[in-house]
């Protein structure tokens, strides 16, 4: 996993997931193995950033000075077209089922994926 391409958790404008060469499973949280079958070295892949909104919650009460500066911010769970689910931020008016695409915005001193509705 040392050759894992940088993604947004490392400050790059990218969403990366892994696929297992043995069983075909898709996973979002990076590991040195496939959590479905245990096979080593799943392949890292860059996601397209396209997906569908699964859930939303507009955060109005934050717990740190850095995050409070952004209130309110919409947290979303998005089902990526590649077959994994991820947490991110998004437009405040997103609704479940909306087709969305990822951009990146600064949040509390880092870059986070930010989903907007496909027009």
């Amino acid at each position: 996993m040392s050759d894992r391409p940088a993604d947004w958790t490392k400050g790059a404008e990218a969403i990366v997931y892994q696929t297992c060469g043995a069983c075909g499973a898709v996973q979002y949280f990076a590991r040195h193995f496939c959590a479905a079958c245990g096979a080593p070295d799943p392949s890292p892949k860059r996601a397209s950033g396209s997906g569908t909104v699964y859930a939303t919650s507009l955060v109005c009460r934050a717990a740190t000075p850095e995050t409070r500066a952004h209130v309110p911010y919409n947290m979303v769970l998005v089902d990526a077209v590649e077959g994994f689910r991820m947490m991110a931020h998004g437009d405040s008016d997103l609704a479940i089922g909306d087709k969305v695409t990822a951009n990146y915005r600064p949040f509390a001193g880092r870059l986070v994926p930010y989903f907007e509705r496909i027009k």
Binding site: Y28, S57, R61, M75, R85, A88, R110
Partner: protein
């Protein structure tokens, strides 16, 4: 075989100047006295954790502080499910003959021992450190996400969720130990400050100081015994990003296994004690457990089904939402109240028949589940 032979509970709210150990000690003393035992007869200790005073060996810290030298002791950490997970372990320990009387204890000065921000931050860490916590979520946000999806799939409204807050408050009004004593209405819940939509302030449990304890014994110590009939767990995920679909969550799995272990059906249950960190938690768990049909729990609240005089009295002390939530002790109060109801010592809150009870705890974000059936034997 195992019995819950004694219970102890402090009031929840502010205990200015009390440490986590103080609150644990107070509850433990009450539970041991309630069981009719002496401290020296306790040979096992299970305790939870304290976010205010974290320690890698809290059970022995507590044992030394309290003044007992058990032959079995350690801490257990399963978030909100810790209380019932400890009870399940105590049940198996006494049943296997490892210990005779296991003290199960939890307590924390979570309200006065640290800032509210610190509590919210500590709890948000149940999220994934790289893929979730970096996004600035809070525990209400994790449950807000779940709520939005549940409402979408089953046609539940914010007004529906508000009913659970109103019910828990109505119950708390009759308990002198509860944190809140002002009645609230659905309109009050709807008008309360937004926290993590669709959840508003009154959809969320408070942060509290408090302690709870019980003794689990191999034999009963009084004429009426409260027997642990059967229990089971399920752990499907840790992070909400990795959770299974709503129809495959752990509560349904745990309760199915507990029913099999206990040989009890939901139709046998007379009293329910269900984890209620947020209104959505309670609504979902009631439906997952089979205490209401999908999307129908709120209608049952409105019909009085879960009230003190209803067919299935629920959390008659006010639950986490209104009795209070001090961490591990929070959901242990549900078991203390269940014990008081089953032994007909609940005073003005006493229900007609609490001969068989179903308890359910949830830790993380619907991650860890423990279901348990208790029955009264004479």
């Amino acid at each position: 075989m195992s019995f819950i032979t004694g219970v102890g509970l402090t009031s929840y709210g502010k205990h200015e100047g009390s440490s986590s150990l103080d609150l644990m000690s107070k509850a433990a003393e009450l539970a041991i006295a309630d069981a009719g035992l002496k401290r020296s007869e306790i040979d096992g200790i299970l305790c939870g954790y304290s976010t205010v005073s974290p320690h890698i060996m809290l059970a022995t810290v507590f044992a030394e502080h309290f003044g007992i030298q058990p032959s079995y002791a350690h801490a257990v950490q399963v978030g909100g499910a810790t209380g019932l997970a400890m009870t399940m372990l105590a049940h198996h320990l006494v049943d296997a003959g490892v210990a005779k009387h296991v003290l199960v204890v939890g307590g924390e000065n979570r309200l006065t021992g640290q800032s509210r921000d610190a509590s919210i931050q500590a709890l948000a860490q149940v999220g994934h450190p790289d893929y979730e916590v970096t996004l600035g979520p809070t525990i209400p946000a994790y449950y807000g996400l779940v709520a939005s999806r549940y409402m979408h799939e089953y046609g539940v409204t914010q007004q529906d969720l508000a009913e659970f807050a109103v019910l828990m408050r109505a119950h708390a009004l009759t308990h002198p130990g509860a944190q809140f004593h002002e009645p609230i209405t659905v309109a009050d819940v709807m008008a309360s400050k937004p926290v993590a939509m669709p959840l508003k302030l009154l959809d969320c449990c408070p942060v509290s100081d408090g302690g709870a304890a019980f003794v689990v014994s191999r034999e009963k110590t009084s004429a009426t015994g409260i027997r642990i009939r059967g229990c089971a767990q399920a752990h499907t995920h840790q992070h909400i990003t990795a959770a299974p679909p709503l129809s495959e969550l752990g509560a349904e799995i745990a309760v199915a296994k507990a029913k099999a272990a206990a040989g009890i059906a939901i139709s046998d249950v007379r009293y329910a004690a269900v984890y209620d960190s947020f209104t959505i938690t309670l609504a979902m768990l009631l439906e997952d457990l089979g205490l209401a049909g999908r999307g129908e729990a709120a209608a049952r609240v409105r019909a009085g089904h879960f009230g003190r005089d209803g067919a299935m009295p629920l959390n008659t002390h006010g639950g986490l939402l209104s009795y209070g939530h001090c961490g591990v002790g929070g959901a242990m109060a549900h078991l203390v109240e269940t014990h008081l109801q089953m032994t007909e010592r609940a005073g003005s809150r006493q229900v007609r028949d609490a001969s068989v009870a179903l308890l359910h705890g949830d830790g993380g974000v619907l991650s860890s589940h423990v279901s348990m059936f208790l029955e009264r034997v004479r």
